[in-house]
């Protein structure tokens, strides 16, 4: 597995840089690990792990788990997602897999098939969000809850 953060530490330099971008014309096999942001517009077969933001573009197709602090999905993911702070599935986003996040937003038009679980935030409370014009996932108050559901709205 290729780890940019490990390489940086090995050379004694602070981790920094513009992050990783995978273009729409590129296919990647393997696992991407980056301490900085990751943006995917192409095809990935493998893991996508960031310590910051993961952005899955409309043209992206991911087969594998995705994890990050904030994950935004406008493309297709067949795999699990773990977003410590927030997961947002945009209208063009399609997720087939389980998700775990502290804050979930599913926009109108999105497709999600799988189980969802709540990640406890630092305050120890579970928060729910309900915004105008958006379809959201309302979570229970238990530390971890799971639900199996399909949601597809237009």
């Amino acid at each position: 597995m290729f780890k940019l953060s490990d390489q940086s530490l090995a050379y004694g330099k602070p981790s920094s840089g513009p992050g990783t971008v995978i273009g729409a014309n590129v296919k990647l096999l393997g696992a991407i690990n980056d301490v900085n942001d990751i943006t995917v517009h192409g095809k990935v077969e493998g893991e996508v792990n960031s310590e910051k933001t993961v952005t899955i573009g409309e043209t992206a197709e991911i087969k594998g788990p995705v994890s990050g602090a904030i994950v935004t999905v406008a493309g297709l993911i067949r795999g699990s997602i773990e977003a410590i702070d927030r997961l947002e599935i945009l209208p063009t986003g399609k997720v087939y897999g389980n998700i775990a996040t502290g804050d979930l937003i599913i926009r109108s038009g999105a497709k999600f098939v799988g189980k969802s679980a709540v990640l406890k935030n630092d305050a120890g409370k579970n928060e729910t969000k309900d915004s105008m014009g958006e379809e959201t996932n309302k979570l229970s108050d238990s530390e971890e809850s799971s639900a199996v559901y399909e949601t597809e709205s237009k």
Binding site: L4, I22, A24, V26, K27, H41
Partner: protein, 250 residues
């Protein structure tokens, strides 16, 4: 002591520039020994001669290609005390931007100030060293397979840039032009700026590149290597005389 190596002049005014440089260096009190590389005596041979005489600062006067030759010789010689300087004959060159000077006089004055920085470099196919950006540009996109660690990237590109800091950027101009990006009606409807979909960018300290067909990888106008290619980044591998602003900015 400084050992200066220049190339035979290519353009008509280059000999005049070299003479001007010698005059400025003499005025600054850092005139050392001068040599001009030629088919009869190469850069490598001059460097061996310079080390034997006790010179530890080697200064190139010329273009990116000469800088590459000197850097390669210094790297493969593993001469620990070696320090490299450069006086670019053209400020538009990549190396001029790296050194941070805008004139020949300023480049000469930098040598006198002698601010030394450890710079990263790229070793290509274990044969040649690049201290500035590598580039590969093609008119018609070509297929590539790029491997680093356990990751494999496949796709097409028209432009490739690899920087000594480990950054690798691939771009496909033709992909953007042929409409494989978001449909134009979507972009207009949503009034969004289209993301740079044909750009791939990552950080790697070692990688290999295969292309179909084989492509040249260049520094400036000089061809350094052809694909298939292996690139190994060496961090803080060479001592280089540069400008204070560059040091503080980084």
């Amino acid at each position: 002591m400084y050992y200066y190596i220049s190339e035979p002049p290519i353009k008509s005014d280059e000999q005049r520039k070299v003479d001007e440089i010698k005059s400025i260096l003499s005025t600054l009190g850092i005139a050392g020994e001068f040599a001009t590389a030629s088919p009869s005596k190469t850069v490598e041979e001059y460097l061996v001669s310079a080390f034997r005489k006790g010179f530890s600062t080697i200064v190139g006067i010329g273009h990116d290609e000469l800088a590459t030759k000197i850097a390669s010789c210094l790297w493969f010689s593993q001469y620990e005390r070696a320090v490299m300087g450069f006086i670019p004959l053209s400020i538009s060159q990549t190396l001029a931007k790296m050194v941070g000077t805008s004139s020949i006089k300023e480049s000469c004055e930098l040598l006198r100030v002698r601010l030394i920085k450890d710079i990263d470099c790229l070793v290509l196919n274990q044969e040649v060293v690049a201290i500035t950006d590598l580039r590969s540009s093609v008119q018609t996109k070509c297929s590539f397979r790029l491997r680093f660690k356990k990751i494999e990237l496949t796709g097409s590109y028209t432009d490739l840039i690899a920087k000594p800091n480990g950054e690798v950027i691939l771009f496909d101009r033709q992909f953007m032009a042929t409409g494989h990006a978001l449909p134009i009606w979507q972009r207009l409807w949503r009034n969004e700026q289209q993301p740079d979909l044909a750009r791939t960018q990552f950080q790697a300290n070692s990688w290999s590149l295969e292309t179909i067909p084989s492509q040249s990888v260049m520094v400036g106008e000089a061809v350094l290597a052809e694909t298939p290619l292996t690139v190994l980044r060496q961090i803080e591998a060479l001592k280089f005389i540069t400008k204070r602003a560059k040091l503080s900015a980084e």
